[in-house]
Symmetry: none
Subunit: 345 residues, 4 copies
């Protein structure tokens, strides 16, 4: 277990980091999270796979240092993970509640769990506050008013700066906003959603409408589709890969299914485009996510320092994502969701 990763990182590398920042300020891509004033790097470090105890403290620290020195300021932790202190105000640290890994008694988005869960999370990370607290998964057993009141409470207590949602439907988010307006509470600023070449509908169709109506931004995860887009499953499932692990049985099934094989075929074609642009397939996939203007930030989930460095290189690929290239990719994928506006329903 690693209880205070941020603290470790701080002790070891803060001086160097500060220097790096003063020399090369991380201006490569700061954007507002939704319509809020919070500015995040367009690439963030997702830690849910990374720091779940599967990697050592050393690797974790290495990953964070690489990310931070590349200009990343967004670190997405989850309640079950470690955290800590760095140059605090230069970091945007998030946490998730209702993660599912806890005992049943703590589950749900009851006021009790939101407050206790966040307090526990802050203690484990040795932090005074997080920047964004996410309600992971909706909870249909708790009234929305209770959830929004509790989120407003933790913000007004100084335990969080903003709150967001994760895996909620557009309707649920709209309901949260509606309740916030009705009772003069604080509405959410951001939805975390899965988004990659093979899953587009929610982020490309539903979230933009939400952004325009109520200012909620999109922070996306799994840009490489749990590793499927790395190409490592091109010839079956290697023994060392995640998909060969027991708890990832669902991933294995997905890969060997007919849909999975079709996806591998498409990835081969996309690889040609990547080669043409002089980048790797994962870089193309991450840059493709970034090209979507509705996306505030893309969370990278790799647990391998070399891969992280490679993925971060997607920033350099972004300017090459011309409308022509994007159109070619759409053609290969064949899954571009169409707007429902001109649709006679």
């Amino acid at each position: 277990m690693l209880h205070s990763l941020f603290q470790l990182a701080f002790t070891i590398s803060s001086d160097r980091c500060l220097e790096v920042f003063s020399v090369a300020p991380p201006s490569f891509c700061r954007v507002n999270l939704g319509k809020s004033g919070l500015r995040v790097s367009c690439l963030g470090l997702g830690t849910w796979v990374t720091f779940g105890g599967q990697i050592t403290d050393e690797i974790a620290e290495q990953l964070m240092t690489i990310a931070y020195e590349s200009g990343v300021n967004l670190f997405d932790t989850a309640e079950v993970y470690a955290g800590g202190r760095w140059v605090r105000s230069s970091l945007v640290i998030t946490t998730k509640l209702y993660w599912g890994g806890k005992a049943e008694t703590e589950r749900g988005l009851s006021r009790k769990h939101i407050i206790e869960g966040l307090k526990g999370s802050l203690q484990r990370m040795q932090l005074e506050y997080v920047d964004v607290v996410f309600a992971n998964r909706p909870d249909s057993n708790t009234p929305m008013e209770e959830i929004v009141r509790a989120m407003t409470y933790v913000i007004n207590q100084g335990m969080a700066m903003y709150w967001g949602t994760s895996r909620w439907t557009a309707m649920e988010i709209m309901e949260a906003y509606s309740v916030a307006r009705q009772f003069n509470l604080i509405p959410p600023v951001c939805e975390q959603a899965e988004y990659h070449l093979f899953q587009r509908e929610k982020v490309e169709v539903q979230l933009p409408e939400l952004y325009h109506k109520i200012g909620v931004g999109a922070m996306t995860w799994s840009p490489l589709a749990c590793g499927i887009i790395t190409g490592k499953y091109e010839n079956g499932i290697p023994e060392s890969s995640r998909a060969s692990m027991k708890s990832y049985q669902w991933l294995k099934e997905k890969i060997v299914s007919e849909d999975g094989r079709k996806q591998q075929a498409k990835l081969k074609e996309l690889n040609h485009i990547a080669e043409k642009l002089g980048c790797t397939l994962p870089q193309l996939a991450v840059a493709w996510c970034l090209r979507n203007e509705g996306v505030s930030s893309v969370l990278l989930g790799t647990s391998n320092p070399e891969q992280l460095t490679e993925n971060l290189g997607a920033i350099q690929v972004l300017p090459k994502m011309t409308s022509h290239i994007v159109s070619d990719i759409d053609h290969i994928l064949g899954n571009r969701p169409y707007s429902k506006k001109d649709y006679r329903s």
Copy 2:
């Protein structure tokens, strides 16, 4: 022209109707419209195709009498149609604004058009008020606050009892609700949506969520898919049918498309089920709509008295819609939308 159909109908048949009602009260299927207190018959008479000038006053009156005597209390008119007075309190009369039949200059859901449009509609129908006024189609050029304020105004002026939406997305309805809550205005009670064997997503997935969250009910139209489900297009397009008319070119194209031909094949299979249940295909299709507990009322749109009587018979088919039968139909259709709740997104 038929200026006061309801008036005609009233004069001729009110006595008989009252008698019929007192003998056999229309208890066959009264349900609340959404979570509102308004009780409507589960089958309603949709008038948009029926009373557009294509049928005579006599036929129109005949249709209304048949429906009313069968227990129907819901009459869905539109701004452009005639209306009138019957046993007023026993009727639920609706009207639609922003229908599209007016000059471009009058379009939209501006406060001006909502008020003037409804006034004009009431004058044409010689009514003091309607029970539900529908905003037909959303209007992205008018702020939601203006729309909800105007709807609240016409209700507070006694020109309507409730208001609803038609062809709005779930998100737009949620926004209307949100604005109503924020400014203490009156939220909509109902969405009118197309619903039949070949179009299910909105009514089966999105509207139930709306119903549970904010109490908005579903009133559905086109249960026979503009006549496609009657079976009359099984062997091509008869000359006398609607699809052969110039303004229904889109319908013709739909029928002769590949999708259209696949639908005809499925209809043949469904016909076998209908035969097994001892009913007609249209009756099966209407009963299938009614089996959905989320649907408050299904609007019938036929312009033929015999067909209307036949369609109304769907009520008798309803008890036969066992889970087994419904499952068989789903199997034939192959388009059952699956709930996103248990889906790992």
Copy 3:
């Protein structure tokens, strides 16, 4: 006096007008008034000079017919003027309160005067309601809350569809909005302001900010600067002109002042541009107002049928207002207001 101009107009020419509309719908320029849903023609007929008793009923009717048949739907009347009925829903009729022409006892924007004034205005115009009621000039002796409550009252009573302001400062409008939000009242949708080649600041700098923040649109008047831009004062003041009248002494003084003479020199230069574009100077001046995207509608104030027809021709000049031409005009005028954003204050 002409008490019911609209009624006259209606009686005489409504049939012809309806025909005209069915043949050539007035699609030439409908825009939303601010962010409201009300759609007005981009040119309107301002009546404050026109219909003040200085012209006959026949001329007034002629002016309205010309405007209406050209596609104008916006008729700006004032409390002291006549009005009436035409094809009501196709017209946007406004009126002004606190005009100043009344006895002192009725002045001000007290609740009493807003309600009594509007009632009187509706009676004189034989109208049930106006589309927009304007509070002409702010009234610092009446609390803003009282004004906004009274405006909300007349709207909720059905005497007006919307309310707007005239000659208010941006600050006063913002205060009205603020009060409306605080007490859940109805905010104004539009400010009427003077706007022409020689007066730009308010419409070009202040109102755009208001539009973006709170959706208030601009309806502008005096596009020809009380006739100065017609060129008729180029060689002094003709005896028959308005400026020779006793009550327009201020206009005469303005024209013969040094500023006035400088303006005449600039008008000569602008005339060259007009010639180059194949239009008249007034047409150029009106088109120049229309080029400003922040302006919803420009009110024409001429009392001469030929001049009105000429002015309406500005619509054809609008497409010729390229950025190059606009820049040339700015150079001649030398009064382009600069944005305060990049100004180190």
Copy 4:
């Protein structure tokens, strides 16, 4: 570095100060800050030039002691400066956020920066709270609701007593007020604005309207126009002056411009008035600012103890600012903004 100037000052001189106060209470000019209940001295010590590291701790302490003993209770610090503890309740200490001296990543008026910035500022100044926290410069990238909620938060947490704005337009302040009223949050009490003989519009025209409408007061800075009004640039730019420094290139350019030379000519004339009144030019300039009843407090920015003492003497000049003298000064300056109230717009 001076980490705890207030602490030093406290240790050394508090006893004497208390005595001074008990003998001669600083009644020379206490006024309410806007319509708030906070009473400030009409002259304050602006520290942005003074304490930026350009002067020693000793000088800084000397300046503060002079000011305090003269009756000044208002000390305007900025986030980047030192602060400390004196007789806390007798001091009005302010701080500024979004100053611009921080890394780009921390900029803006996001909730995160407002809270973290103020916390950091309090730590550096070793204070529990400030009396007024200013949002320096508006931030169009952060929603006004977020800014006002965060300001309300820091006040409710006890980190500040009031909040104000700096360099905001009247419209932006009005929007903040509007949002505060809409959501029942705390509105700002004060705007800090540049004000001196050569810059008058905002403080003389716009802020009075704000004061009357919503009670926001004016705290002004740069009464000597960054030293221009001291007369030291009369014969060009001395080597030792601020304007000769590299980072003040803009000031140098301003002084040697044609406008700059015209200003020097006017200053010569004003010097004659100063001589007539028996005071120095800077004293006249400061007293002239104070004569404006709309100004709550004028911040002095000198870094020289003798100059500070001299400037503070402006209080004695104030009674000599008769309407006659003020009119003479207006005549020399030729820049009196005229109220738009009596202007026929």
